[in-house]
């Protein structure tokens, strides 16, 4: 059973080694001529005015919340999708009932303007 996952482990190991080699060569071979103004964050040739690490617009947070809601619900569709032929119309009706609040929630959000930028 778990042997299926050997492939994943092997590919993970190979990719990590590959990346380590690439980065390692780069860090060794690449020159290092650091001076303060080179290390300034890019701000189109000016001194940065505000630090980027500050309280950001709440809209991005709204997206995150939406994502959690919908992604968790999406997970329920997967097992249902694979076996729904056995469940028949009863299963179909249940997923319909399950989807309804989801859709209502989406439209509520939509009408409220939460999806507008």
């Amino acid at each position: 059973m778990l042997t299926e996952y050997t492939g994943v482990l092997v590919i993970l190991a190979i990719s990590l080694v590959l990346i380590a080699v690439l980065l390692g060569i780069h860090l060794r071979v690449g020159p290092r001529r650091e001076f303060p103004s080179k290390q300034d964050p890019f701000e189109c040739g000016e001194r940065p005015v505000t630090s980027p690490r500050r309280r950001i617009a709440v809209k991005f947070y709204v997206v995150a919340i939406l994502f959690v809601v919908f992604d968790v619900e999406a997970i329920y569709f997967y097992p249902w999708g694979t076996v729904f032929r056995e469940l028949g119309w009863f299963g179909y009706a249940s997923i319909l009932v399950f989807t309804l609040p989801l859709v209502v929630g989406l439209f509520y959000e939509w009408m409220k303007g939460g999806l507008d930028w």
Binding site: L27, L66, T82
Partner: protein
């Protein structure tokens, strides 16, 4: 066992990273040149020979390797280094579940042309895809630059949003094939179906005999024919996941400089770049497997090939031949899908950020939900009729 897996993985990674990814950068240059009436990549040369620009990928790598590694002041050095790794690893390990061919029996031994034949293969892809979102997010945050940060905000919002749509868009597909295992999905597409059978099944109509071949028309049992809408939704969503144009708002170079990788140079940037190109291959592989019958050859199932060739040359040779044919078939479809992505990339302008989000939440998501419900109803109705 582990050795076999290792060989297989090494081979696939060699094909993908060693051969395909560089060639794709070359194809991207050449295809864009063709589309734009240019000559295209032809500058890198060894001893005066340019090999139609094929040296450019090598020149790219060398250039990225010997560039200075600049980390901006005030950056979080650990996360700054970790971010490209977090971007590149998921792109590479996504290959684990994409079948490059079916399973072939040579007497006792069975060869499966897939690294890990997981029964939740598609889910694995999505899980890995979610991990890929960390790369841009960490990169933007760690860089301590306004542009990077904007880019990473955009990347996170866009990738999260499209993940939802991505998840919903393929539900219809595995309702049809009843599996999440990608190899099984490809096997299920190795047959044909009568294109207009649904007319009889759903509406109880009989097609008039005058239609002749049209009513008898058989199509390969491919996802694109069974779930055309899902194909469009999936293609859109997964291209947005990969942040390639026209969905490259997180790195829109004319707007936010280079987005989340503004502060990256050398191989650190190279890893982001590489992860995107490998992403193109992964997407092509996924679309091929889910919607274009994977490695199967249309109208020629595996049994037919083995039986037909085996009749003359013996089963062992026939199986090997079949394996080769399937691998070539997969590669050809892969190339076509890569070409499709490139053509889209060089034709379409970039979306505006709010348009990307609107497309996801207001168009793709409702459509994918509708697709699930309609698919379910049609399948149940057809089963009831049968």
């Amino acid at each position: 066992m582990v050795v076999a897996v290792f060989v297989k993985t090494a081979f696939i990674l060699f094909v993908v990273i060693g051969v395909l990814a560089p060639i794709i950068t070359w194809v991207e240059r050449k295809q864009s040149a063709l589309m734009q009436n240019r000559i295209g990549a032809n500058r890198a040369s060894v001893a005066g020979m340019t090999f139609i620009g094929l040296l450019h990928p090598a020149a790219d790598v060398i250039k990225l390797l010997v560039k200075e590694d600049v980390v901006p002041a005030g950056a979080n050095r650990v996360l700054h280094l970790l971010a490209p790794v977090m971007a590149a690893v998921p792109a590479i390990i996504a290959f684990a579940v994409i079948p490059f061919g079916g399973s072939y029996h040579f007497g006792e031994t069975t060869i499966e042309l897939v690294v890990a034949n997981l029964d939740w293969g598609l889910l694995y892809i999505f899980a890995i895809g979610s991990l890929a979102a960390y790369g841009p997010i960490l990169a933007g945050w760690a860089s301590n630059s306004g542009w990077s940060f904007l880019g990473s905000l955009r990347a996170s919002a866009q990738m999260l949003s499209y993940e939802v749509t991505l998840g919903f868009s393929v539900v219809g597909v595995f309702m049809v094939f009843q599996t999440l295992r990608l190899t099984d999905m490809a096997i299920a597409q190795d047959t044909t179906f009568r294109a207009f059978a649904f007319v009889e099944g759903l509406f109880g109509l009989t097609l008039p005999a005058s239609l002749g071949w049209i009513s008898a028309l058989r199509l390969p049992n491919w996802g694109i024919f069974l779930q055309p809408l899902a194909f469009v939704l999936f293609l859109t969503a997964i291209m947005a996941e990969n942040k390639r144009p026209p969905f490259d708002t997180p790195e829109g170079e004319s707007e936010i400089v280079a987005g989340y990788h503004t502060e990256y140079s050398g191989m650190r940037f190279g890893l982001f770049y590489m992860s995107e190109f490998i992403g193109v291959v992964v997407i092509a592989g996924l679309i091929t497997t889910i919607f274009f019958g994977g490695w199967s050859v249309p109208y020629l199932s595996q049994e037919m090939i083995i039986a037909g060739v085996g009749h003359f040359f013996g089963v062992g040779f026939a199986t090997g031949f079949c394996m080769l044919v399937h691998f070539v078939s997969f590669m050809l479809k892969l190339a076509a899908m890569i070409w499709l992505q490139m053509a889209l990339r060089w034709t379409l302008p970039r979306f505006r950020y709010d348009q990307v989000m609107n497309l996801c939440w207001k168009i793709l998501l409702p459509l994918s939900l509708a697709n699930i419900l309609v698919t379910g109803a049609v399948i149940l109705a057809l089963e009831g009729a049968a």
